[in-house]
Symmetry: C2
Subunit: 510 residues, 2 copies
């Protein structure tokens, strides 16, 4: 067994022994081949900055407590990861190289599915695929919201402020109650779960005093070991499809059309608004090739707003009539809608409609791989929050296109439409076996971040290498937010062992 760990580091060597004693040999991954799975999957050849020293995989809450206590006693820094499938942001890799990755993949139980009340209680190792399969297996009349790729952790996604497209598509808003292992090794339950006699842990969001759920999202204040998540009743019908526009300037009327429909919930869930650069069939050269590949992947149109409705057939029919009437008023806009039964199975639903129907897939990644570099396809994501306005969207898309051109790169471009804002979802694509391409892609995204920051836009999530830069944008009151984070960090994790640097939050001890 090749041991990559610097066994000369006394803390680490002692920690390995202690972790092995507490969790068993199988739960402590030291072999470089196994540790590699927890590196940034797209860091490129030769990169070492964010390399974990090794990985521990606790199998129970008690073992997570053990891990934390041992880390404190040995002075070792941890980096928590649920499934680590957030590949565009660094996977399971720690910000501080040499940290020990605490992978929660073995905490993979669906602890409760409550159809009557409409929630699930999950451990962080449960994937969207697994939850969906279990709901199907038990024929539970609840519907999930899923992100574009279904292999990730449901809990991890919500903790990272992730989005899906069904109702409850703002996953952080659907969280109701957590269990958290604190840096002192204690187990905290939030909300009604803090009352050991309550049956309402997943049913009512607040208790008495400040609600702490959001304090443990995008944070390094604790390790979340259980999470309640609200699901929506399985609708009678699902209607999903697109409003398509072909004109370069049609983003302005398209967003004007979309805004009131979103705001008054005539469409439900989160629309996905995507942009595809036009390319002449006869155009030659690498850029034209890339553009053609992207066109083959993207939905039709220069601009495409995917909209969905979920509910009782008669109500959805009334909503659909409103949309048809509104779209008809916009010159050049066309509407394509498809209807599914709420309990349609995977095979009944067109692959492109599965995500809005709440069915996890890997379709997007499969398509991208096929069109670009196969299994060597890498991506880094640029995801700023921008105003829900046509002019802002146009400016954003032009900037990204310009930077991609400047750096000779291809990228997918879309926005996840929130009620009062939009979240950019741009994947910058590259060949991960080329260190030069990796560096170029990182430089391009850094430049996008810098340009966006000038307009007051910041990323809702960021690759680990960009965390400090993004956090720097929050400057009000001479960075009062950052100081407040640090005060809380030092109070809850005085030794600074939990995920140092996550979201720009550094312990004083560092």
């Amino acid at each position: 067994m090749t041991n990559t760990v610097e066994e000369t580091t006394p803390g680490l060597a002692a920690a390995i022994a202690r972790f092995t004693e507490a969790l068993g040999e199988e739960a402590v991954l030291l072999d470089s081949a196994r540790v590699d799975e927890f590196r940034d999957p797209f860091e490129g050849p030769g990169a070492t900055e964010h390399q974990p020293s090794f990985v521990v995989q606790p199998g129970s809450v008690e073992e997570v407590q053990d891990v934390v206590r041992i880390a404190r006693e040995c002075g070792v820094q941890l980096w928590t990861s649920s499934m680590g499938r957030n590949f565009g942001y660094g996977g399971s890799a720690p910000i501080v190289g040499g940290s020990v990755v605490v992978s929660l993949r073995r905490l993979n139980r669906i602890l409760e599915i409550n159809e009557e009340v409409g929630y699930v209680l999950l451990e962080p190792g449960v994937t969207f695929f697994e939850l969906y399969e279990e709901l199907q297996r038990r024929d539970v009349a609840l519907a999930m919201s899923v992100p574009d790729l279904g292999w990730g952790s449901v809990v991890g996604n919500a903790l990272q402020h992730g989005f899906g497209y069904h109702e409850h598509g703002i996953h952080a808003d659907a969280v109701c109650g957590m269990e958290v292992v604190l840096a002192n090794g204690e187990v905290l339950r939030t909300g009604q779960g803090a009352n050991s006699r309550s049956t309402l842990w997943q049913a009512h969001k607040r208790a008495f005093g400040p609600s702490l759920d959001s304090l443990f999202m995008q944070s390094n204040f604790g390790i979340v070991t259980k999470m309640g998540l609200w699901l929506t009743p399985r609708p009678e019908v699902i209607v999903t499809g697109s409003i398509v526009c072909e004109g370069e300037d049609d983003i302005l009327p398209l967003i004007d059309l979309l805004r009131p429909l979103v705001r008054d919930k005539t469409v439900q869930g989160l629309p996905l608004l995507s942009a595809t650069r036009m390319v002449d069939d006869s155009a030659e050269g690498e850029a034209a090739d890339r553009a053609r590949k992207l066109r083959s992947i993207m939905r039709p149109g220069r601009w495409n707003a995917r909209v969905s409705m979920y509910g009782r057939a008669a109500v959805v029919a009334a909503q659909r009539a409103v949309i048809e009437e509104q779209v008809a008023k916009v010159p050049g806009a066309r509407l394509e809608l498809r209807t599914y039964a709420g309990d349609a199975s995977v095979d009944d639903v067109h692959p492109r409609d599965r995500v809005p129907a709440g069915i996890p897939t890997m379709v997007l990644l499969d398509l991208i791989k096929e069109a670009f570099y196969g299994d060597d396809t890498g991506h880094i994501d640029f995801a700023p929050v921008i105003p829900f306005e046509g002019a802002a969207a146009a400016r954003h898309e032009q900037m990204v296109t310009r930077v991609l051109e400047e750096f000779g790169l291809a990228g997918m471009f879309a926005w996840i439409v929130n009620p009062r804002s939009m979240v950019g979802a741009c994947m910058v694509l590259f060949d991960k076996t080329s260190a030069e391409q990796v560096a170029r892609a990182h430089a391009a995204v850094r430049k996008m971040c810098d340009l966006a920051a000038e307009w007051g836009w910041t990323e809702y999530r960021a690759h680990i290498s960009l965390a400090d830069d993004v956090a720097q944008n929050f400057d009000f009151g001479d960075h009062a937010l950052s100081r407040t984070y640090s005060s809380i960090k030092n109070a809850l994790d005085p030794d600074g062992i939990l995920s140092p640097g996550s979201h720009g939050i550094w312990p004083a001890a560092t």
Copy 2:
């Protein structure tokens, strides 16, 4: 001028001088007649436990910073109050008698109304009446959610996890971005507002890193000086009314009927489910008199579920048809619905329908005063969170009725229906000029809390005299939640000057 302050207390005397110097004489209320307005309005004759020493009324954020700095330097404890209209929970009165009340009534500006995006930015001294009037005056096409009484602070209500009945009726969920003066005198802006170049402070709820808005609700970690709040588009139509049942056991089928309609948003906003005890016309005695008075105030029926729909006329018509069909299936249930235009003015709307229509009123209090003790009518509220189940509701109502009978008191009884839980809203009524009645009412509510706690139910808000008792229910992990609160409290307010004891959170310094 009668000075009620113990001027022999060196800290307080020095603080008065410093506050007067910083804020001006008019902003420091020392006269007992003026300070009395900030006592518990229903504490009864002779009570002194929760008496403020005096009141300061800063007129700007800078003056709030001054107040905090002076309090630290003088070692004085503060108690923050917005409007202080939460009379059933103690008004502006501090938990620790002798604290200086920081009344934010002078921070009463509506800083922004954004019709396009759908939010307002408010200071804590703005009441529901004032916001409504300003929306009307400018003819803004946005609708508010209002609680039963419109005289309170919009910000204060949301900070206390308060409820209204329109869309966004869970007011804490509608909060988007805050400005907070911390105990160190610094000003923090949360969310996108922490980025000084962002225009999205009230448009997007999270930024990068943990979201802190909920940390400053039901809390003593800072003084909120600005808050963003999402409003809903003014609907085309409002349909509101009741599902009425007369049978003693009809609460079970009524909740079974209501649950799916709430869960899939066929009804919008938060239904109000109320219970009225039957009384024979010929019955005599004090209890029968009280019951008859209450019947004259309450909505019709033994059980009454107020339901509302808001939106486009065609969609609401489809929703209404669903409700009619479902109610027809329940023997003995009858439906009464009234329709209003979304822009109906106060006079167009029946007084009983104003609150669900988003129009602030004082109707409830006026009715209660008229039926009971006039301006001497006092109340203390009992408001546990319970399961959204018929059996739980029946058990709850029987317990409250039994305790009221045991203590010889009258009370209004209702639940605010949340998507997966219900929040009890019971006002125990008494003559506030009778110390004996006040004591009896407090004892009754304490008994209700104790009985509810045995079933795992705890109050979502509580009278200041009950804060520690309610907080005690959160016992999981040997009271890990309480220790976590204390850690954060000590980090953010090491001198323990901000609202000590609020929601059971005590500083280490105490």
